[in-house]
Symmetry: C2
């Protein structure tokens, strides 16, 4: 007797079968599976993977014995089988969910404090460069990365991707330079694609990338559409769009570390209207049986994040100066987690969104964190290889990334899940655990950030009796100094430098 | 025959006479003078200066022969006389006026670009310390200083002033410390003043200070009322207030370098209402015959700067983060010059308004300037002498002040009077001369500031033919690099550092 197939909880269970390769299997065939365990029954669409091969994927949310039944237009009899879902391995905590209204946790309850970065098309570069990106990710604290399924056309991004999502021939890119590339933006002319026939290898490779991230404990914030396009992928017909969305959903939904970003800078996709975005969201809600996180990212005006399908805000700052400092206001506005996926990048390119200092980017991370939200990193340093992390991945040349591990460690010390801004305290950002109720006179935990301010000392008074373990954190120099247990009128000497924080934990 | 008395244009001409010293001359006597030249006739109140001495002062606005006639309740016959107004000396440009709606110029037409500082009670310190303050002012680029007529009671300000404005005895200050001083704020208890009997020496000394400033080319932005008070001067009766205002106006109006700041942080003077401020403003408009600049400074909510008596906005920033960056919006709101008298000070004290870096303060000055307004300096470094510039004057310990001369020099190169913000340019602050009309395709002059952004290069295009002299300014390192004459597509390499500016002047 054959041993029963097995998969870990929140792993990918895949059923493969042979089927027709003639005609256009992408549009003419269908396949789907139903997976049943003691606690759930899930129906998921499958997809054509080329060469007569069809697949259906499933992510089990519980342990135990499951059965499946796969049906397809081309199958006379459903395929059936049984498999065992084993306990999750140590580093597997399940998909990330919204927790505590403004925060996130893995499905097993472990808090997830987002430390994101952006590398739009790292996955579409050469094997060597992808390996370098993964190595960089491995050595840093990022636990989310935003990247695109479609290739990207933009300044510093005029080369060909390693593959295309469709069968066909792209326009001749040798005519492009950094002055004329705008003219080709969002136009299909010069390309010759069959937009009803996917190129499975493109997607298989992206899946491999998602798996590599998963194994590094990194969430894959998949940008499904975006405006930086010279191939016409941003201006397909409604039918082509929907076909694409369903294919993406069938392929990627079973990966626990996937988040859906409907678009980068949705408002720059001139041919798409709110009705289109809402239709795509409807397709996700229908076709992703696991409820992965869903959002959409703006360039200028915000999307209406109050829409019920939006699980969290994915924000690009709208002001050059005040950025992460709006986090607490945006929380009040939308009552959802606030993720500041773009608040300018560390770098030195001419573009105003890509040339802030490492200090300022780290400062924005801390401001966001202490106001109950999450900032995102990106790096845009000019370099001899002309490989900018923000787009192509590779190496990091900057300084900000080194400081995120400390922030992440400090966030993990929060009692419960998540911080919130504790009202107005002039000249400081005072955070308390989300659970602290407003009227509670003394909270159990304070994380107080001084941003660009440079106090030489600070005085605090909560009550006469509560004892706090006090630590002084230099968020830039990455030191944590234990000042012992204090109570009553608490006086703390500080170094009069920027970027200091004070942590006070009830003993 | 006696030689005719003379005074320079915009100098102080003073008529002195003996009068009664019995009773209360401050309330029971009056004196006023009328001064007539070819182009003006001015009536000004005089004042009692103690010891039976009465004075009337006058600032002539024109050259030539003037006559005067001084009347008083105690004089049976008016005093009359003739004097000669001579041309202004080289450094005397007259009082500062609003010019070009949003800017300032001296009465002789010379543009005045405000580079202000704040030393609330420098004038009430010891002779040695006043001398040190004047020496510091002499060696720096400040051309305006805000300071108080009343003494100040606040953290770092608990000592006694050199003199008091009234006859009487102050409360015992030995009970004060930096924890309990708040309890005495705005209260009269423990003091014993005759609030109808001024102490002329206090005012004579302040006049001497105003004269010293005048001779250094510095405007005296006189703060007439303020809330940081343990003597009851902030909660006098309406009659006492009015008596005080009239005395101040009679004494100081004839000094060309005086500006009226009705209050520092008017909104913290709990016992005063809008009607009171409007009444004081009415007294100024009635009693200051020279129309010196008038404003009022907020702590929290702005005063209604649209009131007709307000000549310019005297703003304290309302946000820890976005400060000078609001300048262009406030100009639109009030259509008056925007002076940011308090946007946080360079320093390291615990207070959030007094611990920003020199870099950030200089950055705010440039932001304000390139958005068509004027920022103000202050310094609050802890130091062994416990003398903080912001309050007591003395030495400067910081770095920001060294950078203001360059800013002032660059501002003086503006064609016409004043800059304005040239609309939205992402990632830069582009200023053009106020005179440039909106539709003018190419302006004659650009001053472009990159703030905390670090572009490695910038490209500009105005038209194919206009030639510009291009200079690259490092506002922090104080260098100006001439890049020669350029036209058409202008490419400028920049060092990828913060705080750079580019100046482009039509050849």
């Amino acid at each position: 007797m054959e041993q029963m197939q097995s998969v870990e909880r929140w792993g990918v269970f895949e059923v493969t079968c042979e089927g027709p390769s003639e005609g256009n299997p992408f549009t003419e065939q269908w396949i789907r599976g139903t997976f049943s365990g003691k606690n759930e029954t899930v129906t998921a669409d499958g997809f054509y993977d080329g060469d007569g091969c069809y697949k259906v994927r499933f992510m089990p949310s519980f342990e135990g014995v499951y059965t499946y039944q796969v049906e397809a237009g081309f199958l006379e009899q459903p395929l059936t089988g049984t498999f065992q879902v084993l306990p999750a391995e140590e580093r597997n905590h399940g998909p990330v969910r919204v927790a505590n209204t403004y925060h996130f946790a893995y499905e097993d309850g472990t808090p997830y404090y987002s430390v994101g970065t952006t590398c739009y098309v790292w996955a579409l570069q050469s094997d060597e460069q992808i390996a370098e990106t993964l190595e960089t990710l491995k050595n840093n604290a990022f636990n989310k990365i935003r990247f695109c399924i479609f290739p990207k056309h933009y300044d510093y991004n005029l080369g060909e991707p390693r593959s295309y999502p469709y069968e066909g021939t792209p326009m001749d890119s040798s005519v492009l330079n950094s002055e004329n590339f705008w003219q080709y933006q969002g136009k299909a002319e010069g390309n010759d694609w069959d937009l009803e026939r996917f190129h499975p290898e493109h997607f298989r490779h992206l899946e491999w990338c998602v798996e590599q991230l998963r194994d590094l404990g990194i969430e894959a914030d998949l940008i499904v559409m975006h405006p930086y396009d010279r191939w016409g992928f941003s201006c397909m017909t409604q039918e082509q769009d929907d076909l694409y969305w369903k294919y993406v959903l069938a392929r990627f939904s079973a990966y626990r570390n996937v988040w859906w970003s409907l678009a980068n800078e949705y408002d720059l996709l001139r041919s798409k209207k709110v009705e289109d975005w809402e239709r795509y969201a409807g397709i996700i809600c229908e076709k992703d049986p696991y409820g992965h996180l869903r959002s959409i990212h703006n360039c200028g005006p915000f999307y209406d994040y109050s829409r019920p399908w939006v699980t969290h805000c994915s924000i690009q700052r709208q002001d050059m100066y005040r950025t992460a400092e709006y986090t607490d206001e945006w929380r009040i506005r939308w009552k959802k987690p606030v993720v500041l996926d773009e608040i300018a990048y560390e770098g030195n390119i001419p573009h105003g969104w890509g040339n802030i200092t490492a200090e300022e980017l780290v400062r924005r991370f801390w401001e966001a964190a202490c106001r109950g939200g999450y900032a995102g990193h990106g790096e845009t340093y000019l370099n001899p290889e002309n490989v900018l992390w923000w787009s192509h991945g590779g190496k990091l040349h900057g300084e900000s990334q080194k400081r995120f591990r400390l922030l992440h460690e400090i966030l993990q010390e929060t009692p419960g899940i998540g911080l919130r801004y504790d009202g107005e305290h002039f000249g400081e950002v005072r955070a308390v655990p989300e659970e602290s109720w407003a009227e509670q006179p003394v909270k159990d935990y304070y994380l107080i950030y001084y941003s660009f301010m440079r106090p030489s000392s600070k005085d605090y008074y909560f009550d006469d009796t509560t004892e706090f373990q006090v630590k002084v954190i230099d968020t830039w120099n990455m030191t944590v100094e234990d000042r012992g247990v204090m109570k009553g009128k608490i006086h703390i000497e500080l170094p009069g430098r920027q970027y200091m924080a004070v942590q006070m934990k009830k003993v």
